[in-house]
């Protein structure tokens, strides 16, 4: 809930600000009036302006911590199951994990026809990891930030997938894999694909190249931004609903109903988005493997 001294817009902006650690440029005036000296300074940002001033040489501590933490949770959970896995009757968490693995395996088999040992584990990692990151969206927006603010940490975004850095980081990783496998599988055929499609004549090479490169670049951007956009919008609505609570006691019941309704709907969204991200990854890699 919004603090007593915050306006609603301050509350929303506060919720959308990452905990950022980075290098402030020399000569920057901080909000306490001090001036950053020569060579800049590596500090925790005290707000959105400072984070913006840091430019590229900054890191979102909260996004990284939650993302890596959830990734480690995924590895721990699945590694534990992998150690126990045997051909007897499965039970408990083994069932759950095997269900997910089988689901991913079937999806990969249906979509990807090449031979590649990387794709299935990649798809599994993406699906579970993105799902876990999205799942953070269902934790009430104020719970963890207010607990951490008691401990002196003033900014916290706990849903890593609402950070474009996170989603684009994964999308770029996939983009590099796409390029790698395109070159590896098709060799020169990849160049031909870029230059001789859709108009198969040497006169059109510049036109073809332009269109194909735009198409190629659109893949990772659409992949990363789709996930980011969906999760960001969902998170924003949770924040707005949470802000409603501060609008007076009369709003408590409708806001509560909205909160529950949106959370239930969001269960669908987070699963669907994780699934879409995984399927598109498989499809893109499958296209990279198909020699025409």
């Amino acid at each position: 809930m919004a603090g007593d001294t915050q306006t609603i817009s301050e509350y929303i902006v506060h919720h959308l600000t990452n905990l950022t650690y980075g290098k402030l440029p020399a000569g920057f005036e901080r909000d306490d009036g001090s001036i950053v000296g020569d060579g800049g300074a590596w500090v925790m940002a005290h707000g959105g302006d400072e984070a913006a001033a840091m430019g590229f040489s900054a890191i979102h501590v909260d996004s990284m911590a939650w993302s890596i933490g959830l990734g480690i949770f995924f590895c721990w959970l699945f590694r534990g199951v992998a150690k126990k896995a045997e051909s007897g009757v499965p039970s408990g968490v083994l069932n759950l994990v095997e269900m997910i693995v089988e689901f991913v395996d079937n999806t990969v088999r249906d979509t990807f026809h090449g031979k590649n040992k990387l794709v299935a584990p990649l798809a599994l990692t993406i699906f579970v990891w993105v799902f876990l990151m999205n799942l953070m969206d269902l934790i009430p927006v104020d719970l963890i930030p207010s607990l951490l603010s008691l401990a002196g940490v003033h900014f916290q975004k706990i849903v890593p997938s609402t950070d474009p850095n996170i989603t684009m980081g994964m999308a770029l990783g996939i983009f590099i894999l796409m390029l790698y496998y395109s070159v590896k599988v098709k060799g020169f055929g990849f160049v031909k694909e870029l230059t001789m499609n859709p108009f198969n004549h040497w006169v059109f090479i510049p036109v073809n190249l332009f269109m194909e490169v735009v198409g190629l670049l659109a893949k990772p951007f659409s992949l990363g931004l789709r996930l980011f956009g969906n999760m960001y919008a969902g998170e924003m609505i949770f924040i707005l609903i949470a802000a409603l609570f501060s609008a007076g006691i009369a709003w408590a019941v409708p806001a509560g109903l909205l909160q529950v309704g949106w959370a239930i709907f969001h269960i669908l969204v987070i699963t669907l988005q994780a699934f879409i991200f995984m399927v598109l990854t498989i499809v893109y890699l499958s296209m990279a493997h198909e020699d025409h």
């Binding site: 430019g55 990734g71 590895c75 693995v101 980081g169």
Partner: protein
């Protein structure tokens, strides 16, 4: 909303998790699941085979039963036949024996009769002479009438 080093950090983390998953998570789980699939398939095949075997065994049992029944019927028939034969044989033997006994008895009777006849014959002469003597009141010379008496005795 700023693009910064987080991008690179996330890429590195992504690679690490994918490599971990590829090396330590995916292969054992898939292997275990594959093994289970094979096991189940084997089990189903074995069950199929067993039910097929059962079917065969049932057929065989029916066949055996039929053969045994036929055999038993044959044995009973043979026994009946043999029994009848034995009865027949016994009857035959009894008839033969009875015939023999009857013949022996007849022979004895005949012998007895012959002997009686002989005896009678030998005494006829004496009796007839004695009778004639009484009738005639005189003595008859046996020597003179011996031929006539002999004739009479032979006629008896």
């Amino acid at each position: 909303m700023n693009i910064n080093l987080t991008l690179i950090g996330q890429m590195v983390a992504f690679v690490c998790f994918v490599v971990f998953c590829m090396k330590y998570v995916w292969p054992p789980i898939i292997a275990a699941m594959q093994e289970r699939t094979d096991k189940i398939a084997d089990g189903l095949a074995a069950a199929d085979r067993a039910s097929h075997d059962l079917e065969l065994a049932k057929e065989k049992a029916v066949e055996r039963l039929k053969v045994a029944k036929e055999e038993a019927a044959g044995i009973v028939e043979a026994a009946n036949k043999r029994g009848n034969q034995l009865v027949e044989e016994a009857k035959q033997a009894a008839l033969v024996e009875a015939e023999r006994v009857k013949a022996a008895a007849q022979a004895e009777i005949e012998q007895e009769a012959n002997r009686a006849r002989e005896q009678l014959r030998s005494q006829v002469a004496v009796l007839s002479l004695a009778g004639a003597e009484k009738i005639l009141g005189a003595t008859i010379d046996p020597a003179a009438h011996a031929e006539m008496v002999e004739k009479l005795a032979a006629e008896l």
